[in-house]
Symmetry: C2
Subunit: 394 residues, 2 copies
Amino acid sequence: MNQRMYGLGSKCSVIREIFEYGKARAAQVGAENVYDFSLGNPSVPPPQAVEDAIAQLLQGGDMTALHGYTSAPGDLEVREAIAAHIRKTFSFPADAAHLYMTCGAAASLTVSLSAVCNAGEEVLTFAPYFTEYKVFAETAGARLTALPSDPASFLPDLAALEAALSPKTAAVLLNSPNNPSGVVYGEETVKRLAALLAEKEKEFGRPIYLISDEPYRELVYGGVQVPYLPAYYNDTLVCYSYSKSLSLPGERIGYIFVSPRARDAEALYLAVCGAGRALGYVCAPSLFQKVVARCQGMTGDVSVYEQNRNTLLAALTSYGFACVPPDGAFYLFVRSPEADANAFCERAKQYDLLLVPGDDFGCAGYVRIAYCVSPERIARSLPAFEKLAKSYGL
Amino acid sequence: MNQRMYGLGSKCSVIREIFEYGKARAAQVGAENVYDFSLGNPSVPPPQAVEDAIAQLLQGGDMTALHGYTSAPGDLEVREAIAAHIRKTFSFPADAAHLYMTCGAAASLTVSLSAVCNAGEEVLTFAPYFTEYKVFAETAGARLTALPSDPASFLPDLAALEAALSPKTAAVLLNSPNNPSGVVYGEETVKRLAALLAEKEKEFGRPIYLISDEPYRELVYGGVQVPYLPAYYNDTLVCYSYSKSLSLPGERIGYIFVSPRARDAEALYLAVCGAGRALGYVCAPSLFQKVVARCQGMTGDVSVYEQNRNTLLAALTSYGFACVPPDGAFYLFVRSPEADANAFCERAKQYDLLLVPGDDFGCAGYVRIAYCVSPERIARSLPAFEKLAKSYGL
């Protein structure tokens, strides 16, 4: 059998391991006494519009068509609805012919990376980064290199990017709002990054694709704006998923938008279609394509996440923990009070606080707290965090 | 960008091309006057149980759980329901720990092939074969070699298999009931094939995996039995999809069953999980996992296909066309009256009969007729087939 695949299957992700520990521990001491902050699984239900859309579609009559194959890039009407939403929301020229429906964010990323990378090329990203990026880049035959962020802000270190860009760079992978830091890259950062990439494209005489992984786009707090990358840089692919905004992570539905301003945009789009075909994606799930088309611009009640963020940030800071305040997503990335974040997570376990060490996100010395749980659970966890802080003399 | 992916995206499959022609032609002359036999898209609706299951699940209450991530191999209860069905139907020991839920047959195949193949190895199959096998094998880094079938029966040529098996053979890919021939491989064939593979495994000192692609398992006519391959050969992976049996092709739901009798079955299963992860499959669509669990052993009204098969086979034979009578699936694989099946398909187009040349299935000189359309359309198409036959002087 294939040893890479065996390795990927047998080495469970750390996050999944902690999650499984949490389930076992809950069986011992009761679920209400375990504070599992490991998984980025939305806790707010999908908006009612999702259930209404499903009900309407089921009443629509032609079940053979409803559950039938769509065209490989996705149902045309669905893509037109999404294109209209992009035009309206971002004042950016989008059309169905540049949209490719996917089975969620992971599919968006593997397909995009496989479309733009050749064997031996490099994909650059910034730490901290989502742990699976490395796997997806390697599936595309490429190598992932994680560059540092500014530890005071978790914004990308653009000097490091400038030094790392080379004729071997196929793509730069950005994730804002960021998992696990929660940081949003503002317009100033995006403009500088875009200018740098454009300059290097010219210097190397080859495209450098910017892949924007943005499943958390709508999960932002305090009125923060998330710049729309295709408006700043032409060679951009947007990888979107409805997992977080519509609380549909299990249904595997998202899209890739190939900027019509990308060089050879039509050929690039065909490469995306080809990569989807090569990886076994015949079409995105039919019913949920049609559901999301009817729920454009909607979200679950994300104010719950903002409330959790505020509660947890205020409390943890008051206990002496250090954290860059996140503007989006549903993660806090907290500095470990001891150098070894794994040891910190082990100690947190004694208080039934399940946190994820930052090492797998490419940032040793930090832990991720996924606060997509109920506000009631957040409130109940605070005494445990306080005891944990005291145990370090904070 | 990646030239392999660009090539796969820009070279539309022949089937899709004919399908698009059919839509354009229908706009000219009316849909009722175009006899499109190109696509294997089920025409019978899903059984009522599917819609009932969806409705029940939506009334169940916890929408966050219903649409949430399942574990990566699939929801445990779902896998247990499928395992129970396998045990009951095939008297074969199956359990949840050897089942991996997938996004349909194409995903089952790419994941399985990626799990068992190493770069430079070979996958053997028999012509005629489903056109995408080549793409999926190449994604796994392997090379597909198509071996001949006996033209009188379209059963595998086992002498050719014996000659082709080598230490480089990672897998043999079987598809019964077959697309496009409709032929079912009976027990005698399966036993001889299994004995040959077992002998060669011993000779080469390596596993040779048998991958059984069986989305048409339930579409068989006249009481024909489809042998369950894991009962005959230990190193077997079953790739199943509910696309045809439950008429859910767009929902992308199926599974891989790793035989617990395979050598290192647990490691093989982990390689399957790893391949799913590497290809970007986080989990199979959540709602439809739960739907199919409630519809085990059910099918749409496949008697419609049997009726179509009988009508078409009798009529075409009476007009002078030659065809191996199919026992399953919903395809007739008809011998072209002229050597060049492409020329035959072009002439058929003049009668608004849209057929697919066998060349892409690895069988020049034949055409595929997908009869998964309404019986009324079959009946209306017969005069056109008769004229086509007469134009060849049959």
